[in-house]
Amino acid sequence: MTAPIAIRNLAKHYESHTGPPWKRLRHVVKAVDDVSFELAENQVVGLVGESGCGKTTVGKLIVKLLQPTGGDVLFYGQPIDAMQPGELLDFRRRVQVIFQDPYSSLDPRLTLSEIIIEGYDIHGLYTPIERRERAVHLLETVGLDASYGQRHPHELSGGQRQRVAIARALSLEPKVLIADEPTSALDVSVKAQIINLLEELKEQIGLSLLFISHDLSAVRHISDRILVMYRGQLVETATADDLFTHPLHPYTRMLLDAIPIPDPRRQHNRLTLEQHRKAADAALGPDLRLKANDGGEEALLIEARPDHFIRCYPVL
């Protein structure tokens, strides 16, 4: 079966120039470089990395808010770049996004039900009465009382706003949901509510979810598969369990080691990056190396364990 979203060698490079016109210097920033992965039906893929690693850019490239400089995004096998306007409209309906900041992603002048049904206007779906009924239904789906429909965003707390953003995303019956740091702006007790809600919706509606976050414990909880991104590239991909039990790449090891553990009896002595590198090298075995011999070769994603890939160099 074709995956709802497949990404092939996706790249987004930004160019800038310095110096006078007769002696221009070209700089290339590789925000996203050679990223490939698949988001299968009813699967949750977690994309983790630190700020600036390019994870949000990947999300924006998938929904065509940005134009890639290389590679393809395939929606059920069809490249989104080659889509006709009608197909593109359908794609935009089936792939929805939730953003990090629920304070700036809702129009302050609209009521919540207006926010939720705005998409129906654009896509010309349903009669006005049906739209209102659906808005009520959607509010209830995300755990808000129907009376909220008449309120404005400023009357809501952060968690409630994020629920509205989810309701809006669901209004068009999407196949794929891209959630870019959906819980980062929320309080601890509310964070769990939103994660549970996303999990329930995935089961009920059969959504595929790309969960972009820097919160590793949340990502581990919700994801089937985790992709670790570093400086625009995927450095390690594995199932959630295998990544946490057998992290291979030194960067992944460092990320996991950095998570504060809520247990005061555990003495947590963190290793340095150098120590992580040594440990990673030892774990990789004799066939794979983390360092290039000389500048020439490109690191590849190589399957080091079953279904567990790491960006490294094969020993020839």
């Binding site: 630190e50 700020s51 707390s157 952060g158 968690g159 409630q160 309080d187 601890v188 007790s189 509310v190 964070k191 769990a192 509510q193 994660i195 549970n196 999990e199 820097h214 590793l216 414990s217 949340a218 581990r220 909880h221 959630a240 369990d241 946490f244 460092m254 990320l255 996991l256 080691d257 950095a258 998570i259 504060p260 553990i261 809520p262 247990d263 005061p264 009896r265 555990r266 947590h268 963190r270």
Partner: protein
Amino acid sequence: MSPTPLLDVQNLRVDFLQRSGTVQVVRGVSFDVSRSGESVGIVGESGSGKSVSSLAIMQLIKEPPGRVSAERLSFDGRDLRSLSEREKRAYRGRDIAMVFQEPMTALDPVFKIGYQLEEGIILHQSVGKREAREIATNALDQVKIPNPQRILDHYPDQLSGGMRQRVMIAMALSCRPRILIADEPTTALDVTLQAQILDLIKELQAQLGMALIMITHDLGVIAETVDRVFVMYGGKVMEHGTACELFEAAAHPYTRALLRSVPDITRPRGEKLFAIEGSAPSPAAPLSGCPFHPRCAQAEPRCSTEMPPQTRLSDTQYVYCWQSES
């Protein structure tokens, strides 16, 4: 008879007068830092009053519109409310210093790092410019900023988030305060940076023998850095105990719920996360009874009318909950 605590706060209240009425942000909070070198944590979510309490301790709340009252608010036996403006200025920074959450906004963008660091040093330590520069260089060196002399000539926007937070810590430590208040010092930072900054704070604390008040909503950060914890909710303290007591034998339903709602990477996956239904109370709404009762699974009728009294569970642990009372 125990010796006078370094910082003693009894029944602190902070209100803000607004056109729409009085907003009670801190509704009677008592806490203390007993000695130098101790680390105390304050856990709470947004709106719990944890940051405003620390601003009151720093004497940084403007009155009006604010209104600070307390039975006792003293540092090292001195009543903070009786200080003159001049004494307050000397107190802030030299006795107690604060690291704020947002390293992006806490530094003034139009002044160089060096100037901003030296300003406080000259004010508090009555030294000349050259000496101040030396102290500033050492302070940056202490927070492990490579090449401190160069950084002094940088503007804040030339530094990364982690670097700025280091500068903030250097600034707070440059006058050797006896208490450092760290208000969500790592919330805006990535995990790897967070780990570095926490390690740095712990290391410097041990080295300088100062007390630490760590304010955060992250229970992992609490477990790693502090000895004792105050759990705040809706402007009140709900529970207090040593870190071990709270993580292993939390008595308040809120503390227990909070602990259960954090995904723990040391536990197997697949369990549903525990979520506390509802949302935190608004400080503008009048409060009756225990602030947590609308969300509490074990709430009884009297929880909504009467605030439970303090129940002692051990020498160090106490809780405000009717459940523990009986």
